[in-house]
């Protein structure tokens, strides 16, 4: 317990420098700004803004990326409440009661309780991360290569199962991602693989380029299909601060949402979305007046918003302690860490304690900023909601071009973005989910490395490899989960859970 506070103290002393506070603030503000813009979810926001963080120090850039992440989450809730347009699926539930409250002229209170609930949940999740990180990373350090391989298989299986859509197609995308990770020089023999003699392929695929194409540009192409619809933006009326009765009504929902979200967030897959749905169902079941739900019940905003924020934060746990990103957003964050020379995994906490604890405490600071700074700025965000798409998308196009060019000063990178933009769009139209591809791309090299080392240690005997109890257990769970997902009734429900996060 003393250790926990010592560590958090170290984290706060890292982040409380003028530069890091500023980066956190910029991240939150820019994230919210892009998040409220119509048609851009958190994943696209991070993909588009990633080059901006490359020039900062590793700690600063991660703090900024994290800030962008919850800023865009928060922006999604704002649009859900004010215009009934969830910026991302994790705030879909917020539209039910949040927008109903807005129609009754209580938009301010809905926004206020969403921010307060998120802050409380964020505080709780910060402690969950701080408390679980050390034991988990210690456990991970004792893992053998075989264990690690099995853990990755389990994580990836859960991620594609919970991501929704067709399982078969998700598996295809995952393997294409893994194959893309193998392109370039072999890690051991250094011979070029799958390069087809093309110079451009020798360096392999850059996560930043691929994600900007697949998620940034492809999203523009998708939005351009349908004619622009102008959202009706109501006035933000009423006070932003909930009164005592509102707080009393939502206190339980916030507490339950925080715990629920923190737990679900750790599981691979789209924790933020899943937890907000579960929280809404739970609040409705527990309520004495379930008929109020959907008609502006404040618990229906407070619970899911707390849950998705807690989950959004605890999804960092697998990445920071095990090196396994569980969502596409975390894959991007992992890619950014690698770029700065910090390999995600159990060593981060011991080798770069200032970075680790700095990022953890920045989450709390970021949440505080969202309440203290973003909430009063709501009038400004409402203005951004009205930006017409026909002016917005050329802006994003130019921003993406300059952003990706600025990373390596290579014109071919820009052309690659265009290629992956089209590929992402076409695969989306063919109903292939793209998030597994990114997970495969980020984890591919590690997956192969651990499989190789595991088999070398077991001298090529598959049975020795599998007979390690932990490896066997993890692989069995993965197999059971995949098996269950194929069962018709479950697979029906899964297909409706299509998400971009």
């Amino acid at each position: 317990m003393i250790d926990l506070f010592n560590n958090l103290y170290m984290g706060f002393s890292t982040i409380l420098s003028v530069q890091n506070i500023l980066l956190c603030l910029i991240g939150c503000l820019v994230g919210t700004l892009i998040g409220v813009l119509p048609g851009i979810g958190p994943l696209a926001t991070i993909a588009i803004l990633m080059p901006l963080t490359y020039n900062a120090e590793p700690i600063g850039s991660l703090i900024m990326l994290a800030g962008i992440y919850y800023g865009s989450q928060y922006g999604g809730s704002t649009t859900a409440i004010l215009v009934n347009m969830p910026g991302e699926t994790s705030s879909l539930v917020t539209t039910f009661d949040g927008h109903a409250m807005a129609r009754q002229g209580r938009a301010g209170k809905a926004l206020g309780i969403a921010a307060i609930g998120s802050f409380i949940a964020g505080t709780f999740a910060t402690f969950v991360i701080a408390g679980t990180a050390i034991p988990l990373s210690k456990l991970a350090l004792s893992f053998t290569a075989g264990n690690y391989f099995a853990l990755m298989v389990l994580g990836l299986s859960l991620a594609i199962i919970l991501a929704g859509g067709s399982l078969l197609k998700a598996v295809c995308m995952l393997f294409i991602g893994v194959l893309m990770a193998l392109v370039g020089a072999d890690q051991i023999t250094a011979e070029p693989r799958l390069t087809y003699g093309l110079q451009i392929l020798y360096d392999g695929f850059d996560v930043a380029i691929v994600s900007m194409g697949l998620f940034g540009v492809a999203e523009i192409l998708r939005n351009l299909e349908t004619p622009e619809h102008k959202p009706f933006v109501g006035q933000v009326v009423g006070s932003l601060l909930p009164n005592r009765k509102d707080m009393k009504d939502s206190a339980g929902a916030i507490a339950r949402g925080s715990v629920l979200g923190s737990i679900i967030g750790i599981i691979p897959g789209n924790g933020a979305t899943l937890s907000s749905f579960v929280s809404y169902a739970l609040e409705k079941a527990l309520s004495k007046h379930p008929e109020r739900f959907g008609k502006g019940a404040i618990e229906g905003v407070a619970g899911p918003e707390s849950a998705n924020n807690a989950a959004a934060q605890t999804t960092f746990i697998p990445l920071l302690t095990l090196g396994l990103p569980s969502t596409a957003v975390m894959a991007l964050v992992g890619g950014a860490m690698t770029l700065h020379g910090v390999v995600p995994g159990p060593q981060v906490i011991t080798k770069h304690p200032d970075l680790f604890w700095g990022v953890v405490s920045s989450m709390w600071v970021g949440n505080l900023m969202l309440v203290v700074i973003n909430l009063p700025l709501i009038g400004v965000w409402v203005k951004f909601l009205k930006v017409p798409y026909h002016l917005l998308f050329p802006t994003i196009v130019l921003f993406c071009c300059i952003g990706i060019y600025s990373v390596n000063s290579r014109p071919s990178d820009v052309l690659e973005v265009a290629f992956f933009g089209v590929a992402g769009y076409v695969f989306h139209k063919l109903k292939f989910e793209l998030a597994p591809l990114l997970l495969g791309l980020v984890l591919g090299a590690m997956l192969e490395d651990n499989l190789r080392r595991g088999l070398i240690l077991s001298e090529g005997n598959v049975w020795t490899f599998l007979s390690e109890p932990l490896t066997l257990a993890l692989l069995t769970v993965a197999l059971l989960a995949l098996g269950a997902a194929v069962v018709p009734s479950i697979s029906k429900g899964r297909e409706q859970l299509v998400d971009e996060d």
Partner: protein, 215 residues
């Protein structure tokens, strides 16, 4: 275009070749074959010493089987379950063209089949914005022109002045002598100031004096 496609899905039968699962499955199969061909030279090794070719070949086989399954599902599904493949070609082509223009001319490079001169951000930026803007029928020429100069000015300010990233600003034969005489920082500042003023002047010409000053 979208309206047409949804109507088409309801009324007419979806031909086999236009079904998303048929096209998707075929695409995965082609990809799997390409990967296999790319990996033929690589050594698969043995279980105790996995070679560099093991994973590519193994995954290519799995992809082939999965692609085949998707293809068969698409061929065998009922007409109601089938979905027609549809992409919006025009906006896609225009947006891609704008990005490619940027990539090809920002610094200029030898791409093997063509080598291009450097035009710099102050030339390529407005062109990229203008071309991309044409991808939607809601396009408004006058707004787009103001946007293209204003945005280029803003990007110069953010990326070059605030983030100090090096991006070519002007065609090489203009930029090099100007950089020598006034330095790159001054050049960039003059550049975005000029484009900012230009955008503001064009705004006033096109839309009149704004009633509320935005600053």
């Amino acid at each position: 275009m979208t309206v047409q496609s949804t109507e088409g899905r309801r009324t007419a039968a979806v031909p086999l070749y236009a079904r998303i699962d048929v096209i998707g499955g075929a695409a995965i199969i082609l990809l799997a074959i390409a990967i296999w061909l790319g990996a033929t030279e690589l050594d698969a090794g043995a279980l105790s010493r996995i070679g560099s070719g093991a994973l590519p070949k193994g995954l290519a086989v799995i992809l082939f089987v999965a692609g085949l399954a998707i293809l068969l599902k698409g061929l065998l599904q009922s007409n109601e379950a089938a979905e027609r493949f549809y992409v919006a070609v025009r906006p896609t082509a225009i947006v891609v063209a704008s990005i490619v223009l940027f990539g090809v001319f920002i610094r200029g490079a030898d791409f093997g089949f063509l080598s291009t001169p450097q035009l710099g951000l102050m030339v390529v930026g407005p062109i990229t914005v203008f071309v991309a803007g044409n991808a939607t029928p809601e396009m408004n020429v006058r707004q787009l022109i103001v946007l293209s100069f204003g945005l280029t000015a803003a990007m110069l300010l953010v990326f070059m002045d605030l983030l100090s990233v090096t991006i070519p600003v002007l065609p090489r034969f203009i930029q090099d002598p100007l950089t020598l005489s006034m330095g790159i920082d001054t050049l960039v500042r003059v550049g975005y100031a000029a484009y900012g003023v230009l955008a503001a002047v064009l705004y006033v010409i096109f839309f009149g004096w704004p009633e509320l000053r935005r600053d």
